[in-house]
Symmetry: D2
Subunit: 394 residues, 4 copies
């Protein structure tokens, strides 16, 4: 059992070591240097299938050990936290084992590839919570200071009653029809395509900032390039393409409308074909007395419209979310000095470690992750049924 007296070590095992592994490593390394953490994370062991590659990752990212068998690592007494950064098809098995072993679990999003898996994980997380074991899912875009501040503004009533929402996550990295087929384009590995990979962020961010849930959806998902060159040597985004081709089994584009629990409609778009948009997770929330808008491509900014100002002075203002009193920012740099993408992960570590020490439920919980999974599933069902409305929690 994790010791939670101030300054006690919190020994972390990270399962997986792709792009997300680098980001999580940076979070574990940096958070303790800027935040006063109640426990001291130790980057104990990184786990991967390939021994040599995993060893290289351990050296590069500063993990004390490398290992190849995650079951063995989970069984160790000297591990307190299991941080899961593998593709979605393995989340359930690892998380269930880790929770059973009494380890706190941080699991990358999406929580799982299916609702059934996510339900099992949530049930296990609930049981573990009763025994003081914490679990959390990694929707880190909640932890960009500007989005957290947006949530605070909405919660404080600064935009009034929510009237409508637009949320979109726009990328274009698949616009080259000859880009190779990676695991992110295979349904059995990735669960879904743009929908689950980036649409999931748009859903979670909407639910987080509004404090409401998507209750029903109508939409369509579509694959724009249905066949791509198989990946040859290497793996990941930069792998070279072979001459053979394979089927893309996930969506490239998802367009859907959801009804929020508060009654408002929210329209969503997730795409890997929006030419020229690189990482535009954007959300705009229109309320009865104001509005807020965020764009991840300008992540240190928040647009705020205060409809209670005099009529001739109305306008979206560009707030640089870099003030000491903005969320997460007190330990960082002076005003006007920007944070990068990676510190969503630093802030995640801060929140997760704090919750472990305090014995409280961290957020987003597995239940939050399950809900997002249910929305994704409902979108797929709606699409398969001619865009008829599907409840998300049926």
């Amino acid at each position: 059992m994790t010791e939670t007296h101030p300054g006690a070590a919190l020994r972390v095992a990270m399962i997986g070591h792709g792009f997300m592994g680098a980001a999580h490593s940076q979070g574990w390394r940096v958070a303790p240097r800027f935040f006063d953490l109640p426990l001291e994370p130790e980057m104990a062991v990184v786990v991967g299938r390939d021994a040599a590659k995993t060893e290289a990752s351990a050296r590069k990212w500063g993990w004390a050990e490398a290992a190849t068998d995650w079951r063995e690592v989970i069984a160790r007494d000297d591990i307190d936290v299991v941080d899961i950064v593998t593709p979605g098809d393995t989340h359930a098995e690892i998380a269930l084992a880790a929770l059973a072993a009494g380890k706190h679990v941080l699991c990358e999003k999406p929580l799982a590839n299916t609702v059934t898996e996510a339900e099992e994980m949530t049930a296990a997380a609930d049981r573990a919570a009763a025994a003081g074991v914490r679990s959390m899912v990694g929707f880190t875009y909640r932890r960009v200071p500007a989005t957290t501040f947006a949530r605070d503004m909405v919660a404080a009533g600064r935009i009034g009653r929510i009237r409508q929402v637009r949320a979109e996550y726009l990328q274009d990295w698949l616009m080259d029809a000859e880009a190779p087929l990676t695991w992110r384009m295979q349904k059995d590995r990735a669960g879904s395509g743009a929908l689950g990979d980036i649409g999931a962020h748009a859903i979670d961010l909407t639910e987080y900032i509004t404090g409401q849930r998507v209750t029903t959806v109508s939409g369509i998902i579509e694959t724009l390039v249905t066949e791509r060159p198989l990946l040859g040597e290497g793996q990941g985004l930069s792998g070279t393409a072979s001459t053979e081709r394979g089927a893309v089994t996930v969506d490239d584009l998802a367009l859907f409308t959801g009804r929020l629990s508060g009654g408002a409609l929210a329209s969503f778009e997730a795409t890997r074909f929006r030419t020229g948009r690189k990482n535009a997770l954007r959300i705009e929330i229109s309320g009865s007395t104001g509005a807020i808008a965020f764009d991840l491509e300008r992540l240190n900014e928040l647009e705020y419209y205060d409809a209670t100002q005099p009529e001739t002075e109305l306008g979206f203002r560009r707030i640089l979310v870099t003030e000491h009193d903005h969320p997460y920012l007190a330990p960082w740099w002076p005003t006007g000095h920007m944070l990068g993408y990676e510190h969503g992960f630093s802030h995640q570590v801060f929140d997760f470690v704090t919750a472990i020490a305090d014995g409280t439920q961290p957020h987003p919980s597995f239940e939050d992750g399950l809900h997002v999974q249910r929305v994704l599933d409902a979108v797929e069902r709606s699409s398969a049924s001619g865009s008829t409305w599907m409840p998300t929690d049926a």
Copy 2:
């Protein structure tokens, strides 16, 4: 019959004199001063129901005469063109009469309030065309130089094959739940709400720039504020509110997805509740080798992304569409001197008069307007049927 020898007069009667009347008047007055028109428009007569008000409009806007009976005016021999700027419920009757009388007709959008009316009008326009009588519908946002240039760029292949489209028309002028109930909120007068008033522009602009048609749609329309104070004294947007309330019978928000004839999906939004957005008709077209984006709130600009540039130099560029060689701009000001909203109407006059003189079909034709009407109708039918997909030309 209109004389079309160079310099012959083109005598115009305008039916209606609200906000659109001011804009059309400005178009008729200004176009001949900047463009070399083959015929000379004469602002002959303006027609309204209230004699005093119409007389005042005539004086203010420079029409030679005021009249109260449009049928009489249409019957006059000394009228060549009938310009219809009344609410949508009267378009059909007036246009049919005008075409029957051999007058060229310019009709504000939407063409009509129902598909049936629009079909009759289109049939009449086709018959009239055979006799050399021209008709056109007033989607003036096609004639903002930046949107015309966008069409030219797409037609020239500068963004490649169209992959997806986002089109939205965002306003917030109804966000005050106590704003009074005007004719624009009554289905019998306006036909529909945000959908037909501004969504129609988003549809037409999409079809114009892409050169494709929306073939099927799935969507939802919704009224956010269902009851409003009845209008007391005065008329139009600035009328005062009475203490009685009436039902809003049109939509405030329309969210729909359409399939374009070329295969791509286009997602649409029309709303009068997007807090802080005043007149944001925006369209972004993503192609296989580039993208373009337009926002009416910055109407002299066009964003263009050329995906064929070197990878490290890719980016949306902000083109100031104020060059001599941009569409419509040769007779205007030097580079960098902005045009206003109103010159969509000047350009409309230029194109309409030119088509009359040349004996060619002006665009958008009544058939184009009918098609937009069919899309609007399909959206309403889809919304009423749980967002199932509806063909637009069934």
Copy 3:
């Protein structure tokens, strides 16, 4: 003497018919259609040196007559207003004659090519004013609604005490070293280059919005391309180039700092070589409790920063200056519908005609124009003296 009873005609003679002639004509034509003018402008006669060209301008722009001798026109009893849109070297002679003849005078900026001329003109204007004759200089950028509103905001104390100012007018139309030598590049015709042509606007706008005067300056002016092809056939910006070359005798770039009468420093830039900037008259005024920023390339917008808002909500807001209650906008279009460049001229007509009818001094007065001329002169003297500080009113 002009009759000033309501609705009396105000007969205008415009001297000159280049680019500014088109803009002024549009102002005279359009203003009466949107504003309730106390007098009725009549576009009586346009005057130019070339009879055929002037006749063509008269027809094109709607002037009743064309004439070639401005002295004769000024001598006519049936002319009330002389509107001077010729190059700067002729302003003084025409204005002095017109004032002597008891005509109200609207004179394009810069008021004159030299301080001495401007002083004579101002003295004449003062004498004429005593006899009820009005004069005004045409710094129309004061009459963009956003700049007028900026002045109102400053005057109302909404940015507090002025701490510093940045004003710049950036163009790039001379960046092509082979662009031909027009009158705007000849000192004897144009007086100066970027300094007087566009820098004058930056100075006037600074003085107008701040309500302060530039009292001393230090700066440098420079010609970047010193020799250009002589203009062959045609005239104006679009004339073709010949094979001979001539000396550019005016500046291409002016950089200077001024001390305002309230104590703050203002830094200025006027340039025709700022690559990619087409018509960027920008001003940013930093005050003790706020700031405002304007850019003519987005002339319907004003950026406002209210430093009295809560610290976490500070930011420049983009006000769309298109509301009914914004300056000049009541008679125009609904919210969110943009005005173009040309309506500075419409608003100028409104203000000028109103002042004539009311018997009040219109602004900017010749004295205001003289002051700008003195600033321009001081900049040239400072530049010639190694950038030492020169008083503007010595």
Copy 4:
């Protein structure tokens, strides 16, 4: 002597531990995790005057030891690098001692508080270089990928011949006249105010991107608030104010023009009173065939204008400088994932360590820093002499 075989340790002592200490610590910690460094930095010892505070900094930022006597630390054999992050008045003494002791030196900007000190330091650096000892000054904004890429673009001729430059560094953190008097407002500690603190960055960035030097300057510096409350308890920006007041002995605002060695004029502004601007280091370089513009408040973006594109397609494009092939970015995140302010320091470590291992001169060199110091000095001399032009290298 530092061992430079691959993988050898590079033991670093950091002198000072304020805001810059945090940033440098992060650079030393993070760089080895993303870049393949030829030597392994060890965060050996941090030095400060106050033992307890220094000890706390060591723990917080991960330095192995804390010490209070920099002379002792410099004398140690087990230190290879001295990293100086103290206020400017101590740079010279520490750097000279460190170089004399054969330590590689990384010195924060400005290099020194006076030209004389900077000259001594440069001479010492030159002597040391002969013995294989490296020195570098910390203008980290050269190492934002977008600015480095801007330099590459200019060097590759992508904007042609440089015609003019605008460089500004705008902040507003002193706009509160009651903000307390810290060392940054005292000439004996800070050397100068806005001029040296942030103007130095504008100068260095201009020289870096253009590849040219400022040869003469004319300008003015000014203190806007001349007296402030003395700092009470605490130190640094967040110290509380006492009731006594002291004189501000540095400038708040610097406005100057410089002549570049290539002939073009560059205008500069450094200010702590530009209301609403938080950290706007902006530079725009106008060339004969293009332009580039950068703003540190959007540090992952570069605006590029390619004047060789077709005339109707000209425009500033917003390049997201987040591609694998952009400078420094290969080891970081996928396209569209933003870097923060701090990684200028990571990239600085990468370049500095690489130069040490390779035995080459890192940049910016002390000589580069000396040159900036000479420009600062010339600005002060010009200001004191009525803004007459002063050579920078006299």
